[in-house]
């Protein structure tokens, strides 16, 4: 059914259609609306046979989900930013135990300085925790990916994070097509756990493993993700057949077949990138883009196929590997191993800084002339930075850096361009 609704609500409806049995909720902006909507559905019995638990922290949220999943039911939670960090130990644990929990990440920056707006620092910090990570471009895709996520998670006994940009997607009202319960039931079979806490057949889950087997256990986690490289496109095809929409898959290319310059990005910014590609194509540029949907497993093979003919690749990242540059770039460079081309990392959109068409066009034109640095910070206020560096070189007790920067810039926190 077509409806105009908020991204968070669309995701909540998708989750409900997947018939979760335990949902753990802890508030953190910007994922809160998702669990609020689910709480309402459980309270009104629109979502039946489901336990909705208000927990005392994100660490507890995922821990409750771990217990529920190990006891054989479909478990779901959502978080963002500091919440994901606070549950970090449980994030690794859920993957290590092979529990097919699905968790939404409403992507948000990590402090300090505290910042509630969007970037990918939170989910990127957990990229090696053993979870599959899927990034949604649109609200429709966020909805669709959750339905695929449960099937993927349960097929592999591996937890899945569906990452959607905070505010940009979670709080945006857009038209989405919400499938019927019959459609979802036909796509998503009932959960059959590989391991279950059952008094009729007792097992010990989560016991200690020494050096004699730890490598093999870890290898099998890796192997699971390699299998996901095959399964994710299969599920996207099956989804297309069932629901009549293209959603998910490993990557999506846009006008990149004959492109000399290819932009690689994750999530909602791909919409803006594609608009700029269209503008520049109209002006004669040979530019295209690739959207990475599956960041874990990282699709080395298909990415190589999509990028290898280019003269240059610009990786647009909403996260920063401090002291190195890009996180996504690392994977892209690995995909292009042995291929000589110019690779650029662009850090953009940190803490909600808007990524505008104008900025991207300037950036891509610089790239086409190969006038970009290895690592570029899009729309960095160089004046504010150099002023602060100079101030710090002259005095010892300079106070909180963030405050000094804002004093220099003035109260323009709403500046978006």
């Amino acid at each position: 059914m077509l409806k105009q609704t908020e991204g968070s609500h669309a995701v909540a409806e998708a989750i409900a259609l997947c018939r979760p049995q335990v949902i753990c909720a802890y508030p953190i902006t910007p994922q809160t609306h998702i669990v609020e909507a689910l709480g309402e559905m459980v309270k009104t019995n629109e979502l039946a046979q489901c336990e909705f638990i208000n927990v005392e922290s994100e660490f507890a949220a995922l821990s409750v989900a771990i217990g529920a999943s190990a006891a054989g039911v479909r478990a779901y939670t959502a978080t963002s930013s500091q919440g994901l960090l606070f549950m970090a130990e449980a994030v690794y644990n859920a993957a290590g135990l092979g529990l097919p929990i699905v968790m939404t990440i409403g992507n948000r920056a990590i402090g300090a300085p505290i910042n509630i707006w969007n970037d990918h620092s939170d989910s990127m910090s957990m990229r090696d925790a053993g979870w599959i990570q899927l990034y949604a471009e649109t609200n429709q895709e966020a909805l669709d990916l959750h339905i695929q996520a449960f099937r993927l998670a349960e097929a592999l006994s591996c937890p899945v994070m569906v990452c959607m940009d905070g505010f940009i997607l979670t709080h945006a009202y857009e038209r989405v097509d919400v499938p019927t319960q019959q459609q979802v039931d036909a796509f998503l079979p009932a959960y059959e756990p590989r391991q279950i806490l059952d008094p009729a057949d007792p097992v010990s889950i989560g016991a200690m493993v020494g050096p004699e087997a730890f490598t093999e256990v870890r290898y099998l986690s890796h192997h699971k993700q390699l299998r996901a490289l095959g399964l994710i496109p299969e599920l996207a095809t099956a989804f297309q057949k069932q629901f009549g929409r293209d959603s998910g898959g490993l990557i999506r290319t846009y006008r990149s077949e004959d492109a000399e310059t290819i932009v690689v990005a994750l999530g909602s910014v791909n919409g803006t990138v594609q608009e700029v590609v269209d503008e520049m194509r109209a002006d004669g540029s040979r530019i295209g883009s690739v959207s990475i949907c599956s960041f874990r497993p990282f699709p080395l093979g298909v990415l190589r196929d999509a990028l290898q003919h280019a003269k240059r690749v610009v990786v647009l990242e909403k996260c920063l590997a401090v002291g190195l540059g890009g996180i996504v770039s690392d994977g892209v460079r690995k995909a292009l191993s042995g291929i000589v081309l110019n690779g650029y990392t662009v850090i953009a959109g940190l803490g909600g800084r808007a990524i505008t068409r104008a900025s991207l066009r300037r950036l891509f034109e610089d790239a086409e002339r190969d006038e970009l640095e290895q690592v570029t910070f899009l729309d960095l206020n160089a004046d504010a930075v150099s002023h602060e560096l100079e101030r710090e070189s002259k005095a010892r007790r300079t106070g909180p850096t963030a405050e000094a920067i804002l004093r220099r810039i003035g109260t323009v926190a709403s500046r978006i361009g």
């Binding site: 335990v22 507890a60 409750v64 217990g67 190990a70 006891a71 449980a90 806490l197």
Partner: protein, 331 residues
């Protein structure tokens, strides 16, 4: 089989123990029953005289009996988890899961929620951990489980320090006790006075249906409390005193003796509480001075040097006396 029930007065034996053969079947301890489940089976790696291994076996066997073997256990990281399980030699005869150090109560909440979702009201859930996993790192999740009144019995096996990592202080370590992080050195040797927390009281403050303390020295009392706890629903808490020969510097064969002395001195009061109010306590028959308890443990050796540390011993005696008054232990 006893045709008629015999009235046995426990004081006649000089202790709270009495031979099972003198009792009717329904009064016999679960541990004395050849059909006990041995939920924590023999062959594990606990030290000689381990109070925690004993406490866990008593408690889980009693819970199994009370639930018709429909039990799932969640274990915090710690000695109990480590000595009982390295794959593939698990000692657990029941469905058992270990997730992390600080989340046993939350994982148990999840297991309990799953049983509700599955409509399995017969399957019951226990979470268990040591004092570190309960009173320190797991405290947030424990309090959350309590306040939601989740259908979980949480059992804390209290050996008063982090034993698994080599005897470091926890918030359950008593004053004056020597640990690796409260060495018996300086002007105030051992753990300082005036710190720590008493989790049974904090559990009661949540108003949960049932809170009890128990000791491995009082088997029937411990089993009765576990059975009672499994007979009701909601959040329940049992705090079991379990001596640790390795960490306390006591003889393995003295584990039960030390546990009994902790009760008889008043240092570890045995009581029960329902919905936040104390409902019963186990009286002390002959009050024993705390020195009898302290002297058996090397962690207190610095109190008994060439010149006994009269001041600190007196302060520990005051703690015992306060418990005796507070819980009405001398009747």
């Amino acid at each position: 089989m006893h045709e008629q029930e015999q009235q046995i007065k426990f004081y006649q034996t000089g202790t709270f123990t009495v031979g099972n053969r003198l009792l009717a079947d329904d009064q016999r301890s679960v541990q004395a029953d050849v059909h006990r489940t041995n939920s924590l089976n023999s062959g594990h790696r606990a030290c000689q005289g381990c109070g925690e291994a004993l406490g866990a076996r008593y408690a889980i066997d009693a819970a199994m009996e009370a639930t018709g073997n429909q039990l799932i256990a969640v274990n915090a990281t710690g000695c109990l988890e480590v000595f009982s399980t390295p794959y593939p030699e698990t000692s657990w005869q029941i469905p058992w899961i270990h997730s992390l150090f600080g989340n046993a109560a939350a994982v148990a909440s999840g297991v309990a929620a799953a049983q509700r979702a599955l409509g399995r009201s017969d399957v019951r859930v226990i979470a268990q951990g040591g004092d570190g996993g309960t009173t320190d790192i797991g405290f947030g999740c424990l309090s959350g489980m309590f306040e939601r009144n989740d259908d979980v019995l949480y059992i804390c096996y209290d050996n008063e320090a982090y034993m698994n990592t080599g005897v470091q202080r926890s918030s359950a370590t008593p004053p004056a006790a020597r640990t690796a992080t409260t060495p018996a050195m300086g002007h105030s040797p051992g753990n300082v006075f005036g710190t720590g927390k008493y989790v049974p009281r904090i559990a009661m403050a949540h108003g949960i249906p049932y809170v009890a303390t128990a000791s491995v020295s009082n088997l029937r009392d411990l089993e009765r409390k576990v059975r009672f706890a499994m007979g009701i629903h909601g959040a329940r808490y049992i705090h079991i005193f379990v001596p640790c020969p390795l960490g306390w510097g006591s003889a393995p064969e003295d584990t039960i003796k030390i546990a009994r002395l902790a009760v008889e001195t008043g240092l570890f009061p045995l009581f029960e509480a329902q919905h936040g109010a104390v409902t019963a306590s186990t009286p002390i028959r002959h009050k024993i001075p705390v020195t009898e308890y302290l002297k058996l443990q090397k962690r207190y050796a610095h109190l008994f040097g060439k010149e006994p540390d009269i001041d600190r011993i007196a302060r520990i005696q005051m703690m015992a006396d306060r418990n005796i008054a507070e819980f009405g232990l001398l009747q």
